[in-house]
């Protein structure tokens, strides 16, 4: 049976088998790509970005900028672009109609059918997607870093990425993910978007969203799951290391704060744009393709600094609800109330003057100071695992350092084509 993704389109993996691929790429020009583009090749080829079949042409980009829709009318909020400089285009001697091989880490990764080579004003993209043209906005900075020309065309993966330990169990592409959900018997699954090691505020966000999602369903057997979908992409110094993020999210299940019956951890390769409301719509699309039925959105989802209002994402999602095949679940903040002696929702507790708010940033500060947070705030199993990850993967630190950036094992590698 066809698996239907965002926009009502069937999810089709664009992946060629190795024997055919080896023959197909013979004699083709090779173009090396950077990690952002490699992440997006995976997103396109495995159907995370369905219905996209490749990098956007001008009509799609224009539609995304002007009315948040692809040229075919399907809702889409973030441009997915392939860029080259004029010099590179000339040096490679590429033109519309060519087929080239994209290489990553020196090995063939995907076939790229060049359908269009075009220019587009980067400020226009920034204003449309990020609501600002300031280059200090990380999404704008990424946009301005694109080279002279954009290339549109279809992508076909010719070489599957080898996911390196400890990430292998967590790379679950859309078609496989949907099978897993069926095996578990879940009829509703709510997405938890994260780039963090979980503290109990996150844990309760998930638990709250699970309760909201369960709604009127019968409770005699487990029908609802939480899918943690960690975004793995470019790292900045001071972030938690990727290994700690993914393993600690899963630790909540392993240590019994959740269970196999209601919790699963996975990852998606994506370099965050911090586009706030527009990124929230993108996340909804991504998780629709993964087979989720619900998506949790908290305050200032995928925002940065003070560019977006705390509930701008919710307002935008409401405005495009009919185009989304996933139900937004809006979550209030969780905080510690010393009067209640527990982590509670700001929508429930009325000891407002006593509230003690905490965030991932505060927890990182506590750990940086060499202090173990109390179990009501940060689970001891998670703390121990953070420290273990620091030793095992982080060169002594649970946070990204220059040494980690230089010497870490990549999350995935593209092996030589067998």
């Amino acid at each position: 049976m066809a698996e239907i993704g965002h926009g009502g389109k069937e999810i089709v993996e664009r992946i060629m088998e190795p024997a055919q691929a080896k023959e197909k790429i013979k004699g083709l020009k090779q173009i090396p790509i950077r990690s952002q583009i490699a992440n997006e090749v995976i997103g396109i080829a495995y159907g995370f970005f369905s219905p996209l079949e490749g990098f956007m042409g001008k009509a799609d980009l224009d539609g995304v900028c002007k009315n948040m829709r692809l040229a075919n009318g399907i809702l889409w909020s973030i441009p997915i672009l392939f860029d080259l400089s004029d010099a590179e285009i000339s040096d490679y001697g590429i033109k519309v109609g060519d087929t080239v091989v994209l290489t990553y880490q020196g090995n063939p990764m995907a076939i790229f059918e060049i359908e269009e080579i075009y220019e587009y004003d980067k400020k226009t993209i920034c204003q449309a997607v990020y609501g600002t043209t300031e280059d200090k906005h990380p999404g704008c900075a990424r946009t301005y870093a694109y080279k002279d020309k954009f290339i549109g065309g279809k992508i076909t993966l010719v070489n599957r990425p080898k996911i390196n330990p400890p990430f292998e169990p967590y790379f679950i592409p859309p078609l496989e993910m949907r099978k897993r959900f069926k095996e578990k018997g879940w009829v509703r699954i709510v997405a938890h978007q994260t780039r963090n090691v979980p503290h109990t505020g996150h844990e309760w966000l998930m638990k709250g969203a699970w309760l909201q999602t369960y709604g009127e369903l019968p409770i005699d057997k487990p029908l609802v799951g939480v899918l943690v979908n960690a975004i793995i992409g470019e790292k900045r110094k001071g972030d938690y290391i990727d290994e700690a993020i993914i393993l600690c999210q899963d630790e909540l299940r392993k240590s019994g704060y959740f269970g196999d019956h209601n919790h699963m951890t996975s990852l998606t390769f994506w370099d965050m744009r911090y586009a706030g409301p527009k990124e929230a719509v993108f996340h909804a699309i991504l998780r629709t393709n993964l087979g989720l039925t619900h998506h949790m959105f908290g305050r200032d989802h995928a925002g940065v600094g003070t560019y977006y209002g705390p509930y701008d994402a919710h307002i935008l999602l409401e405005s495009v609800k009919k185009d989304l095949n996933i139900t937004p679940v809006y979550s209030m903040n969780w905080l510690y109330c010393p009067h209640c002696g527990e982590v509670t929702s700001e929508g429930l507790c009325n000891h407002k003057s006593e509230w003690q708010k905490f965030s991932g940033t505060v927890i990182r500060s506590i750990i940086l100071d060499g202090v173990k947070p109390p179990r009501l705030i940060f689970r001891p199993e998670v703390f121990d695992l953070v420290m273990e990850c620091a030793e095992k993967y982080g060169f002594g630190s649970p946070f990204v350092t220059d040494e980690y950036l230089k010497n870490r094992t990549p999350v995935f590698t593209i092996p030589p084509l067998a």
Partner: protein, 99 residues
Amino acid sequence: MAEEKYPINIWINEERYEKLKAVGLANLCEEMLAGLKVLRVYANEAQKDKILKVFPTAKFDSATTKSIELLPRDVKDKMFDLVIEKKTVDILDEFLSKY
């Protein structure tokens, strides 16, 4: 209108707590988040801006706590030592004069 103050949370581990007790400053600690001890050094707007400029890893948590976080451990150690030396949390002018 009173000037806005932004806390820098110096989280107190056993070693720091022993040092505070030794000089009779343990009462400067507040208890937060289900049992954590914290010493709060407050920055004004100008001091906050200077801290964020001088220490690029530091972050102002504008969304949740309105506090200055993620200062490197050695920087907080120096602030803490200055609190012990001066027996007050009002140390930021002197601390930042070195930067």
